[in-house]
């Protein structure tokens, strides 16, 4: 056996975990090799140093500390559960969920009941000034022209767009970018302007608006070309303006494509009614409309004349006509609608005789 081999077996030899043959070989080698003897002695001493290391007494408090830690660290599990179910501790998540829930519900309710809320009559005086600051670009004009083409506006005595002077006063709100349709209508504004004076032609033009895009009226209100802006805005148009704004909100949120489709689909009828008492006539007309399954969208009062915007099924139009004749003198200003089927936007202007 060589010294190297012995060194490898040294550990095992000391521990006595080698075979008896190996042990005999090692012992034979040790008799002749002093180096290995020394190695053996050193290793034995090293191991005895390790073995002789005193066992150290742990601190007296160790046991209590361990037990107290066990009690505090294992019991809080129950405590934690209790905390979890204790109302105050989960307040925040509940609040968060509640807030989201309320918001969603509110939005849903708002969207559901919105059409009924349209008859708002508060005048808005701030918006026109804000909108005035924004300018229309020619590109936008061109774009809106293109979009408008497919929409048939049969009842509207819409002035040709090219005839419109590109007035810097044609202002836009940010919403219009969403809804190009409304832009096209804006060009009709100048022709609507005499509205405030109660001109019949202007009225008619205006009355057609809801069928196409209610937002247009909004423009009219905002247009500074209205002869006496402050007066008109306050007295006459604001009611229209706010009404339209409500509609604008809903329709602007939908895609412009949808708006075009609805514009295509809808037909409008404008009629004026000459009566003795505007107020009673309006009530009567409302009754008639309701009886004929019509839906009143809104009413406005403009210089002693009442304007009623409603929606009615085309099948009931003739019935409506017959009924209206009993109330007063009816003037119908509408193209033939017999081939048309479905809902019709109806604008009834009640004039004092």
């Amino acid at each position: 056996m060589k010294c190297n081999d012995f060194q490898q077996k040294l550990s095992d030899y000391i521990e006595g975990i080698i075979s008896s043959e190996e042990q005999a070989l090692i012992e034979a080698h040790l008799k002749s090799c002093s180096t290995c003897n020394e190695s053996l002695a050193n290793m034995k001493r090293t191991m005895s140093y390790a073995r002789d290391l005193d066992n150290i007494e742990p601190p007296a408090w160790l046991r209590e500390k361990v037990m107290s830690r066990i009690k505090t660290e294992t019991e809080p599990k129950k405590g934690f559960l209790q905390k979890l179910f204790y109302p105050l501790h989960i307040k925040l998540p509940i609040e968060a969920v509640a807030v989201v829930f309320i918001a969603v519900t509110a939005l849903y309710i708002f969207k559901t009941i919105q059409p009924e809320v349209k008859i708002a009559k508060t005048p808005s005086e701030v918006k026109p000034q804000i909108l005035l600051q924004k300018k229309e670009t020619p590109q936008e004009n061109a774009k809106s022209d293109e979009i408008v083409i497919p929409s048939p506006a049969p009842a509207i005595p819409m002035p040709p767009e090219k005839a419109l002077p590109p007035s810097p006063s044609a202002t836009r709100g940010p919403l219009e970018k969403v809804n190009p349709l409304s832009r096209s209508f804006e060009k009709a504004i100048p022709s609507f302007l005499p509205l405030g004076k109660g001109s019949e032609a202007g009225f008619e033009a205006k009355q057609t608006i809801p069928s196409e895009k209610p937002a247009v009226k909004n423009r009219m209100e905002e247009s500074p070309q209205v002869p006496t802006p402050s007066q008109k805005q306050n007295e006459v148009i604001p009611s229209t303006g706010t009404l339209d704004k409500d509609e604008l909100k809903t329709e602007a949120s939908s895609s412009s494509g949808e708006a075009i489709v609805s514009a295509k689909r809808r037909k409008s009828v404008t009629m004026s009614l000459r009566v003795k008492d505007v107020e009673t006539a309006r009530k009567e007309i409302e009754e008639i409309l309701i009886n004929l399954d019509g839906k009143i969208i809104g009413t406005q009062f403009i210089e002693n004349n009442e304007m009623l915007v409603a929606e009615i099924d085309s099948q009931n139009l003739e019935g409506l006509f017959a009924n209206l004749k009993r109330v007063g003198h009816v003037t119908k200003k509408e193209a033939d609608l017999r081939e048309f089927d479905g809902k019709i936007d109806l604008t009834i202007k009640i004039l004092r005789q």
């Binding site: 140093y49 290391l53 005193d54």
Partner: protein, 202 residues
Amino acid sequence: MKREERLATDEDAEAVSLCKEGNVDAFESLVGKYQKKMFNIAYRMIGNYADACEIVQDTFVSAYKGVKNFEGKARFSTWLYTIVVNLSRNRLNQLKIQRSREAFSIDDPVGADDAEVKRETASDEPSILERLEKKDVQQKVQGCIDTLDNEFKEVLVLRDIQGFSYDEITDMLKIPEGTVKSRLFRAREALKDCLKKVMGKL
């Protein structure tokens, strides 16, 4: 010793089953029984009294939490020692990182905490000088153990200091017996070299 035999001879089986039912007193008796051995394993591995105390506490706490999952594949004591070895190893790794961050000098005096060490074998009343000398030697030995790599330190502590069998060490460290032997050989060689350096002779 085979596993089945060990299982049958696990003296703590009864206390352990009580612990599984949540009996804290039964666990406390086990703490009393094993704390010293646990503490010494931790102390020899880490070489620091305060750290060893903490490791032992952590070991018992995690043992109490995990006793429900203790399947009895090994003896309860072996299971406990496994935990203490693992936690000590983790602590050593932490300290290593800490030291490298703080540029802590490994030449700092070791075993400074030994001030609290009490002599157990006071039967033959050795002189103060002898006691001081022995204490000095023990500090040097501990200092040398501290210089070993973790894997060598573990086997040396478990085999040469605590006197566990190869079987038990195999169970605790989850390494084959051959690996235990070879690590032990290298650990002893390293300790020998270190002691030679520190003490001048063996």
